[in-house]
């Protein structure tokens, strides 16, 4: 596999077969909470994608450059979460100051992202992958993070449509609200099972 091809494959896999929400169960809270409207779903996913890439971009060098050489891999969790929390806050503040329109459309989602497992998850999972595969480098990690974000976006936007449909349905009273949303999510993730092996097959 050439580099470009492997990057594409990493990207597609992150969207389809390893979809963070629908197959890996990461970032379920915003998936269920902010997917009511397509607009909010889009905003949230864009913010998540941005933070995912940024966080990976920062944590990867910290991990490989500082923690591992000093035998401090065990500090991964604490360092990563601190970095993410700080980054998110910084981005929020910067947006508010310098790009108010962008802040108004995306910034409001940022505080929610600190406690989003998908972001921390992606920074850790790319390292896990790198450990298993020596050809997997910084570039892959970034592409993977971006793909994970786009996968999140795809799932969110798809699901926002479903929820729009649900609004007008006569759902039995005891299932109204979250339960039916979860059943709908169940059917949505069901459809993603069909992708298994697709990316490997496509990329040879």
């Amino acid at each position: 596999m050439g580099t470009v091809q492997s990057l594409v494959s990493v990207f597609l896999a992150a969207i389809l077969t390893e979809n963070y929400v629908l197959s890996k169960f990461l970032g379920i809270c915003p998936f269920l909470g902010v997917s009511k409207k397509v607009n909010t779903a889009l905003g949230m996913s864009c913010a998540v994608t941005f933070v995912m890439v940024l966080a990976t971009a920062v944590t990867w060098p910290i991990y490989t450059g500082i923690l591992v050489p000093n035998n401090l891999a065990y500090l991964q969790t604490i360092v990563f979460i601190l970095v993410i929390a700080g980054l998110v806050q910084l981005v929020e503040i910067a947006l508010k100051k310098y790009m108010p329109p962008l802040y108004n459309s995306l910034g409001i989602y940022l505080p929610l992202i600190t406690t989003n497992c998908a972001v921390l998850g992606v920074t850790m999972l790319v390292l896990e992958k790198a450990a298993a595969d020596v050809t997997y480098g910084y570039g892959h990690a970034l592409v993977n993070a971006f793909g994970a974000g786009i996968g999140f976006l795809v799932a969110m936007v798809m699901f926002a449509g479903v929820r729009q449909r649900l609004e007008t349905c006569d759902i039995p009273k005891s299932l109204k609200g979250l339960p039916i949303t979860l059943v709908a999510a169940s059917l949505t993730s069901l459809s993603f099972l069909g992708f298994s092996g697709l990316v490997e097959g496509l990329m040879g």
């Binding site: 449909r165 299932l175 059943v183 069901l190 069909g194 298994s196 097959g201």
Partner: protein
């Protein structure tokens, strides 16, 4: 003038078409496939279809009762779901699983969302996929056609043309495929019977030809582009059944004409991608269910321009 008049808003005249009459047409259109399935796979096929129909109808009846809602089995939609689900099983399926599938289709996929017209994925297909992932062995053990004439009591297994194709061992002819003389689900093998039913539906204006034609054309073209045998792909593995009966399900396909085209093209694309590249040889079910999920977006994007509509932006919309 002793009693009160009926008062209603206009119009006071209605066409004779009702949900029941539409569903009745679909059932009629499915009969050739049921007959073909029974000829190819024996009486057991007929029994399986009957079983799923019963399971669906009873599930519908009970779930409506439990939810304290009006009885809707009269609209025959549960029968359609039942027949289609039955046609989507391999003939050797364990009857308990067949019944389980019916319950899942009606209760989980349809009634939990409010009943007819409100489910967002195709009940028969979703149930089929759930069964497929739950009992992959049973659901992929295919009987060879006319096994019962060879004196075998149990279904003699054979692979589907698609699996054979993947393994490079398919040896049948197009005629076999067209007439259904191959392994596969009860209703998917005989393209002829499906075509007869499909044409009946189109002639009766129950379905518009947009979806089936676009779907099949997309599969044909993509197969060609991917270097596969286009005719083989169209005739094998449920594309025909899916295109005429499942992708056209009113509830789970777009109602706009442009939307129908996009939907069917999406189905075709997904089908071929999954067939050719993914682990499962089975693309039709997944592709239709996937596209079902996208229907609200497709509809939003393809809303026809109203008569004399002037392009304008309503502030803060979306």
């Amino acid at each position: 003038m002793n009693s009160n008049m009926y008062v209603s808003a206009s119009p006071h005249l209605r066409s004779g078409i009702s949900t029941t009459s539409i569903m009745r047409d679909v059932v009629i259109a499915l009969l050739p496939s049921v007959v073909a399935g029974s000829i190819i796979f024996g009486v057991r096929a007929l029994l399986i279809v009957a079983l799923t129909v019963a399971s669906c109808v009873v599930s519908e009846y009970i779930s409506r009762k439990v939810m304290k809602r009006n009885n809707t089995i009269g609209d025959l939609s549960a029968v359609v779901t039942g027949v289609l689900l039955g046609l989507n099983y391999p003939v050797g399926i364990n009857p308990v699983m067949a019944v389980f599938g019916g319950v899942v289709a009606i209760v989980v996929v349809k009634q939990m969302f409010g009943g007819i017209g409100q489910n967002f994925v195709n009940p028969a297909l979703a149930a089929r996929i759930i069964l497929l992932v739950s009992f992959p062995t049973d659901m992929t053990t295919w009987a060879s056609p006319f096994y019962y004439t060879q004196g075998a009591v149990d279904a003699v297994t054979s692979a589907t043309p698609l699996a054979q194709n993947a393994a490079g061992t398919f040896s049948g002819s197009y005629l076999d495929l067209f007439l259904g003389n191959v392994g596969g689900c009860i209703g998917e093998t005989c393209a002829l019977a499906i075509l007869v039913g499909g044409i009946y539906l189109i002639a009766r204006k129950v379905i518009s030809p947009i979806i089936p034609v676009t779907y099949i054309a997309t599969v044909f073209v993509l197969a060609f582009v991917m270097g596969q045998d286009p005719l083989f792909h169209v005739l094998s593995g449920g594309v025909m059944l899916g295109a005429f009966f499942m992708a056209t399900d009113y509830t789970t396909s777009p109602i706009t004409s442009k939307g129908k085209v996009i939907f069917a093209m999406g189905c075709g694309l997904m089908t071929m991608l999954i067939r050719v590249y993914a682990n499962l040889p089975e693309g039709v079910s997944f592709s239709i269910v996937l596209m079902n999920i996208l229907v609200p977006h497709i509809e939003n994007l393809t809303r026809p321009k109203a008569f004399g509509e002037i392009k304008k932006k309503i502030k803060g919309d979306k």
